[in-house]
Each structure stands twice: as C-alpha cells, then as structure tokens.
Symmetry: D2
Subunit: 388 residues, 4 copies
C-alpha cells in the first residue's frame, strides 16, 4: 500500500487519540494510504520520547517549525491547545502540507479566516476534527435528514454538559484561560454542537447568548504534564478564571428553524453529555454521546397507533462505518470516530473525496461562536454576516 | 364533614379535570371540607346540562356574573380561556370568593397585576393552577432542594414540547389567537416551566428570547364545542395565526444560575413533554412529565465509583401525596395532581396553610413571560424589575 | 340511565380500588348501566361503616350470605382474600348474580373448577379481575398481535418482581400463609403473568418450575386491619411462612413458543415490576407496569437502517380506552385499568359483549399454576391436560 | 520490554478481535510483556496471508500442530470453532504453552475435563475467554458484590438474546451443527451467562431446562470464508439444524439463590443483548451488554425517599481498566474487553496474578450446560455433582 508520512504536533490527550487512529485506520478499513507515524513534536523531550516509543512514532522533535518544513512529511496533525493552531496551520499550509487540525479551530474569527485563506490558497486538504460527525449514529442522522425522513426542520436543541470543574479547587488549566483557550465551554463544547447543527440543520443566521461565571479564581496548576481531566493537585497560588463556565445560546437558522445550545462544565452527573434533538415536520431525531451507538428516531409515517421514538442501535453492517468493525450489537467507543476521520481524511488526501468539516467550516463555526460571545456581553441579538 | 360550595366557570377539558378533582379529593384524602359541586357555568345550555348531569353539578348557569354573586357559593373555579380570567377573577375577589384559577394566568402583566391586587385586597384565598408543582416527583424535587441535597444551583434547563399543531390544516382554535390566548406556547407551556423554575430555583432577573412562527394562517374551526386537542375537521376559510409556534428563552436567575426554557408545539414525538434538569454543586435532578412518577437524582455524595443518576419511582408512602393513593409501584396519572391541588386549596380555605402559586406568583410569572415576548421582538436582553 | 346494584364483599386495598372504579366508570365512559354502590360487606362493623361513608356505599352488611341473597343486588364484587373466593362465588352464581371476582382466582384447580362450573351453569356473567389486560398498552399489544404485527411468536419472557417482604421482620400477613393465599408470588404474581401470556400468546402445554423460600418464619401480625403493603408493626411471636418467596417457571406453549415466568417478592428496587417481552418472526413487544403507559415495539418491517425498539406512549385517542381520559401525553395510573374492567363488565352484563378473563380462564390459569407448584416439588416437567 | 511470542490458531471474527487485543494491550496499558504476533494459523493459505499482512503476524502456518510444537512460541491462542478446542488445547498444554482459549470451551464435559487436566498437569497458564467478565461495568459489579454492597443474593436473572437466524433461509453455518458447535445458543450464549453467574453469584447446584427448535433445516452455506454474522447467500441444498434455537434454564445456586438463564437467537430487536439482574438483601445490580458502559445499581442504604436504580457510567478513572483509556464519559466498545483479557493474561504469564476463568472454570461451566441439555431432554431437574 502507498504510504503517507504524518507529523503530529502535540502528544497529550489528543495526541493519544490521534496516534491510535492513525494506527487503527488501515487495520479495520482500507484507506488509500498507509499512514506512517513519522515524527511527533512536543516541548518536553523526555515525556515526548516515552510517548513516541509507546505509540511507534519513528522520530521526535521539539521545534514544530522543523516538522512543518520537513520534505518527507505529508500531513501535519495539529493536536495542541487552541492558541497554537493559527501559527502552525498557516505555516503548514504554506509548506504545502495537508492539515488535520484539532478543535476548537481558533481563538477568534480573525485567526480562523487567516487559517482558512492560507489553506485554500495552498490547495492542500484541510480538516477540523469535529470527530462527532463521524459517530455512526450521527452520520446516520445526516443520511436520514438528507433522505427527507424528518422533513422540514423546525428545531435544533443541543446541549453539551460536563462536570469536571465543579470543584472550586480544580486548578487553572489551559482550558480555563482566555489566552490559551479563547473561551470556556462556549468554544470547547459549543464548537462541537455548532458544527453538528451546521452539519445537520444548516447555517445560522442570528444569535442571542448568555454566559455564566461560577468560579472566578482557581489555584494555579503544577508546571508540566497537566491534562484537563486528570486529578490535578491544587497549588496554593490562585489566579483569575478568564473564560465562561457555561454558555447558553439561542439561534435562528437560515432555514427558519429555531435552535438552542447549552454548554456547561457545571452539570453534575453529566460526563460527556453531548446531545441533540432535531424536530421536523415528518419526524424527529435525538442523540446522546454517552450512548453514542444509539440514535433515537420518531417517524410520523409510522401507523398512528404505533408511533414512538425508536432506539436504533447503529451497529448494523448497513450503518455508516460499521462494516469495518464488529457484528450487530457489538458497540464501538469514543476513539472509533477518530479512526473514521483518519480514513476519510486519507481518502481526501488521495483525491477520492472531499472531507468536511474543513477550514471554511471552521471559520463559519467560529463566526457563530464569536457572535455568541459578543451577544453575551452586550445583551443583543447578533445577526451574522452570511457572506463568508 | 363541613362543606364548601363550588361554582365553576367553564366545562371543557379543564372543566372535566377540575370536576374530577373536586370529587376525588375527599375520597382519597381528608380535606377539611367536602367540596359541593354547586353550580357550573357555560355559554351553551345544552352541552352544559349534559356536562352537569354527568359530573354531578347540582345546577347550571349561563351567566358567570350570577354565579359570582351567589351568596351560597364559596369558591369560584375559573376554567375558561385566558382572556376571560381577569374579569371573572376580579369580580370573584370583590364578591369575597376564594379563587381557583386556571393558567395561563392573564393576557399580560397589567391584567395580572389587577387580578393580584384585587385578590389580595379582598383577603380571599387565591391560587393559580400550575398543577405540575403537585406531581409527587416535582414536590419531592422541591423537598430535596430545600433539604440541600443538590446544593447551590448552577442551571435550570426546562423544555415543554408538544406536537398537536404540526399539521398546517389544524384549525385556528382559541389557543392560536392573541386575543384569546395572549401568546402561543410561550404562555401556554412556558408559563408552567417558569412557574416550576421559580418554585425550584428562584426568581428570574433577566431574559433573552426568540420566537418562531412556522404556520402563519390556518383554517377557521367549526363554531362550537371545539377543544384544543380534538381531531378538528378543517373548514375552508383561513385566518392568520397571531401567536408564536415556539418560544425559546434564556434567563439569569437572581441567585446567579443560568437557565433555559424551550416551548414548542412543533416537536413531533413529544406529546406533553414537560421536562426539566436542575444542576447544583452537590447533585442534580431531572423530571419528564411523560414519566411523571419518576424523578432522576444524581448525588455527588454517593461513593465515587457508584455515582449515577438514579430513577426514583415516587410512589412510596413517604413521597408527597402518595399516602392517599396506592401501594409502591402503582403509579398515578395526570389528573391526580389536580386532586392534590384541590386538597391543598381546601386546606388553605380552612386557614390551615397557605397555598402557592397564588396570584402574586401568577403576576411574577407573567412579568417573566411578557419580558420574553418583548425580548423576542426587540432582540435585547430584558432586565426584570424586581420590586413586585 | 338504567342502573345495576352492586354488592361488594371486602373493603381493603381491593375494596378501595373497586369502589373507585364503580364510581369513575360512568363519569369517563358511557357504560350501558350506572352502577349503584348498594351494599358493602366486611367482618368489622366499625371500619366498614367508615369505608361505606367515604365511598358512598348505601348500606353495610357483615354477613356475606345476606348480600348474596338480596333480591336487589345484581352484581357480586368479590374483593376478599383468595381462600374465601370459592364459597362466595358458588353461592353468588347459584343466586343468579353476575360476578366480578378478584384474583388469584382460587386456592387450587378443584376450587377453580367448581367455581367455573357453577358460574357457567347459572348463566351469569363472570369475570376474574386480571386488571392488567386492560392497561391500554397491554390491550394495544393484543391488538397488534391479532393484526399480525409481530408474526408467529417464538418467546414469552415474563417477570413480576416486588420487594415488600425482603425485611425478615415483615409480619406474616394472609398473603404469606398457604391456608389463605394458596401460594406466594407464584399465585399472587404469576397468576397475572400467566393470564397475560394466555391472553397474548396462547395456551400453555407444559411446565417446569422452581421455587425459593428465603425467610422461613415471620412475626405474627396484629389482629385486625392488616393490609399487605402497610408498614405493619412486628409482633413478638413468630410462625412459619408456608408459601414460596419466589417462583420461576419455564413453559412450552401449545403453539411451540418457549416461555419463562419469574415472580419474586425479594427483588429490591422493583416495586410492582410486572413486565413481559414477546418475540415473533416479524417483530417484538415489551411492557413494564411501572411505566404502564408505554409499549415497546420492534418491527422487522421498518427500513433496515432505521430499525429499533420504539416507545409507544399509549395515550392517543386511537389507543384502547383513551378516548375516555385525557389528551395525548397525559398519562393514566394504576386504578384506571379497574375502571376499564368495570366498563367492559357492565357491557357484558348488558349483553353487549363477552368479557374475559372469565372463570374458564381462571380455571385454566390455575391449572398452569398448580402444575408449576407440583413441578417445583417433584422436579419434573408437567404436561398439562388440554381438555378443560 | 520483555517479549512473548504468540501463535494464534484461527483468523475469522475471533482472530480479528484477538489480533487487535494483542496489539492494543501494550499501547493503552503496561503489561509485563510485549506480545509479539509471531505466527497465525489457518487452513486456507490465501486469505490467511492477507489476514497476516493486515494485522502484522510475522508468519503463517496451515498446520496447527507445527505451531504448537514451535520452540519460539510461548502462548497458543485458540480462536477456532468449538469442536477443535480439545485437541489443540491438550497438545498445547503438553508442549508447555500458555493457552488463551475461546469459548464455548468444549463440546462436552468429557472434553472439558481432559483439557482442564492436561493444562493443570502441565503447569501452564490457561484461560477461557469469557470476555464479558472484563467489561468494566461487570468487573465493577463483582467488586461491589465482594464489598457487600448488595448483601446476600436472592436472584440471578440472565438472558442473552440475539436475532441473526430468524430468517429461515439463513444458512447452516458451523454454529448450527452439533458436530462443530456442540449446542446452539445454549452453548454459545448461555456459556457466557453461566460464566458471569458463577463469577458474580457462585456455583450452581441444580438445573431444569427447556429448549426450542424453530427452524429444523436450513440451506447449506457456500464452502469457505463463512462467518456467523455475515449476510450469507443461501444455497439450494438443505440439511437439518442439529442444535437448539433457544435454551431457557432455571437453576438453584449453592448459596440458595434462585436463577434463570434465557438464551435465544430468535429475539428480534436484540442484537447482542447479554443482560443480567442480581437481587440481594441490600441492593441490586443490572447490566445490558448493548449499553456495556453502564451498570444499574439500587441501594437499600439510600435515604428512603431517594432510592432508585442509578445508572453508573463506568468510565471514571476509578473504575476497572478505565485508567488505560479516556476521560470520564468517553465510552469504550466491544473489543476493549479483549484488551483487558490480554493484559491480565500477560500478567498471569508473568506470574504476577492468577487469571480466571481458567480451564477449571471452563469445566464447571460445561457441567452446568451439559446438565441443562440433559434436563431439556428428559424433563427432569438435574442435580450437579459438586466434586469437580
């Protein structure tokens, strides 16, 4: 099989998920290329070396610019915090590399536009890893909507709820600082929801939002090796939390649908509760990531006395991506959607198909999110400029 | 047992539910009075007579003023459409009658204030029938919150979704006209949700809202006997729908919690899906009226490895109101909450206890709703005047 | 409306449920007769009088024979413990009364046969109150099976689990003594399940069973007023428990289906968990009494990628019995099935329709249960004599 | 890291799942050895070579005896149909190889005993791959039972339902022939359930069973490459189905608990519905493989008014095996339990810990299953000889 060389920047939580995806893709699927784990890049040589050894990365590098400039690297995989995306992505595009970029896409619209324009100008493949589009149940939802099964859409109800910072002593990790993360759950979580809403319902026309700030300062974290979800020990010094703790948003879609987005890290009992409901004039769909193999579907075409939401266990060979995995009823997990993304990305690289969400989608998503921040601040409904 | 005489205005859907409640209350509970079904009032003598005969109302009357003025009537039960509430309630209050009033409370804040002031000035008992406060699972939620089980509240997520007018040929019943209903689901459904949110979380400080209008004109209904949920045959003449089809609202609570309200009559698969989630720093609660005997509860005090939302089947003798009904696991239905309301109202009349929501609650609820309408119109966040 | 006079023997838990049903039937439905609560019979005059006053029974009587012999009584409602059924039912039949009889039907097959033959010989209407046939979701299941929606049936999986005697100090009520109850959950709970299985799947051909006895002696209860589910205070004297605590049973149906029945009073977390699953070659159905308004339905006719169990909320006007109650999504409760039974029984009395389960069904059910007891004792599969 | 060489016999569905597990184990966990995919064995050289190439097996072999005899192979992984287990396992044991053996363990008790004795005599590590013990939610259930959280156990209710052969034209694969599979779902599915019941509740003392045979002959499958779950095209020749289509079993456990097992391949809507409920005197547990990340738990120690089954999402770092995977709420899938088995097996090989279920467990499980077959045939309850 032909090979493509991958250079990955970053090696924490997302580095692990991406490494696994590059390795699993050619085992369970038949992508046009075999991805070679060529070089992984991070700031701290020691843990980086251990990571590379475990996951089979051939080389390590501590300067991301060197990775981007290597002639033998075909794909740049950006798996670092948000504030580092722009510079790496633009450089990678200019170097002619295909780009597989983590989300949230950028700190703001200006960055997003620069990244999008650079990638489009370079003619490379570019992808923003809103991985949940490729949960089979979500991809199935898209197919069903495209097939007209739920008809004209009236409503999107999205929520993404977590609870990992309810404890006021949870430290101030990079996700809790505006400099590094841009915003709180409004970027981290609503970015996923807005991407799914654009995927499944369409473009967003106007936005009203409110944010909440429950814990205003937190202990500083220990210096290194900090990951978002670990049980970090609290330090003694505190610093201000500069992002939102929760962000709720109402939207009007271009097609007239009325929608809601509710993101929070203060929802006890919800771990990774990324859920949506979509209501149309022929039926409805609902999804919850904590039961990611299931899609709820109501059809107004069912016989009157036998209507009801059905739970589709999206593990049949006829369901998206399932032919690669196991027999019906044998569920898949979180990391599998990354494998699907890698498979589709490799096909895009081979020119077999476009891949979305691309950087243009990343830009549009960021426009919605930035409008939400502005609305939360000034209390006004923001109409989006639809010309991008 | 001492008796009180009830005069009920209205005899459609709510008239049936109220009649049943007045009858069942002394069978399953021990209220201080036996309510006597003295007189029922409606405009059409023939169906009114049939209704009275079936339900055991001693007399009928077609002029509500005569009912209000009768010396032998102690309680006025207002079970008519919204636009008729103010006049009847004010007259009843002035006549010194205790008032059991259906919701939505009034067409606007001005009406609500007049009703509230009249009732308070008269010194009578006054109650707005937001019946869902008295579903045992909801009353239990209130007890658990008051006991501190979920701690400080961060979020309210409420939705009330139905689907009875998705068909564009569903006729223009009174609920779809601003003159008679004041607003659409924003009043009909959000009024329940706002009442529950005020009951469980507290007062609301500011509001941002959006509404949707999916079907702009509808066939006129046949002249009489039309009820909201019946399979009405469409007429040939059409007229404009003058209320919202859906109303979504974000709020900030006085205690800092961030909340959402989502009401729609265009959510296929949802019949009477009045649900809420409440998240605090010690636990969470969730409720869905379609499974009204159940309360979901997450406790952060549970052992770490054994935490999870539990489904409390609120049918134990220790649960609110259940001592009147059946053994554990034998669920109750929709109309039972009306019986609970009647029992509590009779206790209030006997001076044994206050009853809420009263007209002051009705007024506050209406202030939130009216602010929502205004926000939806002008696109701005509305701050409520907290002085009422 | 024409009237029929009811004489009810018994006034505890079932007396309350039956009284309510006789009263509610003509309010929510249009039965051919108005049932008159003529006379209620019990052993203890004082609580009986209070009961009669509350529920509106015109007269009381402490000798059931006098009730049965009254010329002005049309219907005998038997709401007493199992060991008293035979004598009352046979006398009532011989006196030409229609009989509405609680379950479990009888202590054994011999009693059941005598009751059945007496009622059939008398030409009266006879009914055994397996009320769960008339939960709308269950009646709907029957309609769907009769319509061929699930095809040829392969499996019945029934369970009826409760937990009210897990505490070894729960007293020895009449339900725990073979003399009064005949058997434990095997009669009390499996009788319901066997009735439903016969209703929905068909006759049973052979039986293998096992029983368990977890608590072998219990404190004697206080003398009077004891009900099954009350929090009875334990006395100091103990006596042997002479019935099963759990009874599991495998069966072969006449049509070749393989089935299971699992009844227990030792299943913590289950209150009144009467559930079944039915699997056919075209679809499947599932029901759980704790969510009695819902029927689960899987259809193999659904499009391949969109198959799944759907949750039918059986509250539509097109669903059985629902036209009498509330709009869609407004659920009903436990006691409503008794109302349905009374309505159908009154129609049977008026000669408008047969009613089932009748005493012949009661006999057949008892044959299955008695075979189960025998199998549990001798360890052999018992083939039923199909000639009854 | 030290290495161990694995020789795997078989390369179909289980070969894929095992290959993945050997590869993933050292990536997500820190086993004492790195497993080397040394040689894979199958009958058909061509598909075998393709399989080896994809999964990274260094060599291929078509004669399993040669694999077993290789000095450079440390572990024999048996991933072939049941009828081939005995010969390979006994040879592997005699050659001093550690054995990782698929289930069902053997065709009958005699084979199982021979395998068990050979492995024990050889002093090698031996493991039967009832992988579901190592679903985190199941392992958690075991921990909770061992911690006394549900107290003394009264009941086991197990079911394992699938639907892949409801179509009478589904071909006669090896799973449907007594010669190759020993029995139908009674071995394939009940073996898993019996293993879980022995793991969680204890030894089984007596057994009553019934089986069903719904489709008595089926088309012969195409010659090669047939897998159980594929949509095989039916041939024209038919042959008898010689195994059960469903097998229901009641048991008494040594500790007095009463249990049930219900296995079927004729349960439409159930894909891989391996579920159990366990009821004790302090609480209850329930599990369903189709939602394998969840464990239901009821605790009688919860406050009376707040009791209910809670849904534990077993994805916390404190849950078994989860420290190797993802943050809370990020679920794992079917194949992950195989990874856990490999990790534990490698630890057993390193002498760090015993591993179960071992061949002794396989033998005991087979005794229960064989007794079930006998009981189904002769209609009698079979008491197990507890001396093995």
């Amino acid at each position: 099989m032909a090979r493509v060389n991958v250079g990955m920047i970053g090696y924490n939580f997302m580095g692990k998920a991406h490494s696994n995806a590059w390795k699993q893709a050619p085992l369970f699927f038949d992508p046009p290329f075999e991805p070679v784990l060529k070089v992984v890049c991070g700031r701290h040589a020691e843990p980086l070396a251990a990571f590379a050894e475990r996951w089979g990365w051939a080389e390590t590098e501590t300067d991301w610019r060197k990775v981007v400039e290597r002639a033998d690297v075909d794909i740049i995989d950006i798996a670092v915090p948000t504030h580092l995306h722009r510079e790496i992505a633009v450089a990678a595009a200019r170097a002619g590399k295909h780009i597989f970029c983590e989300k949230p896409f950028a700190l703001n619209v200006a960055q997003a536009r620069e990244m999008c324009e650079a990638a489009e100008a370079a003619g490379v493949r570019h992808y923003v890893n809103h991985n949940y589009r490729r949960c089979p149940a979500v991809t199935l939802a898209k197919q069903m909507i495209d097939d007209g099964r739920i008809g004209t859409i009236f409503h999107w109800r999205g929520a993404y709820l977590q609870s990992w910072i309810v404890d006021p002593d949870f430290p101030l990790t990079w996700q809790l600082s505006r400099e590094t993360a841009g915003a709180g759950p409004h970027y981290d979580l609503n970015s996923h929801s807005v991407d799914l809403a654009r995927f499944l319902v369409g473009e967003i026309k106007s936005v009203s939002a409110m944010t909440a700030h429950f814990v205003t300062e937190r202990p500083l974290p220990p210096e290194t090796g900090q990951t978002a979800f670990g049980a970090a020990r609290a330090g003694t010094r505190k610093a201000p939390v500069t992002v939102d703790d929760a962000a709720f948003m109402l939207v009007e879609f271009a097609n007239g649908a009325l929608g809601s987005f509710e993101a929070s890290r203060f929802a006890l009992g919800r771990k990774n509760y990324n859920c949506f409901e979509i209501y149309g004039d022929k039926g409805s769909l609902a999804f919850d990531l904590e039961r990611m193999n299931e899609l709820m579907y109501f059809s107004a075409d069912d016989p009157g006395c036998a209507q009801g939401f059905r739970t589709i266990l999206a593990t049949e060979p006829t369901h998206p991506y399932l032919q690669g995995w196991w027999p019906p009823g044998h569920i898949i997990g979180y990391e599998h959607a990354f494998v699907h993304a890698v498979v589709d990305f490799l096909q895009a690289v081979a020119g077999q198909a476009a891949i979305q969400p691309d950087f243009r989608d990343g830009l549009r998503c960021m426009q919605v999110l930035e409008a939400g921040l502005k609305s939360a601040e000034n209390g006004r409904r923001i109409t989006l400029n639809g010309t991008e």
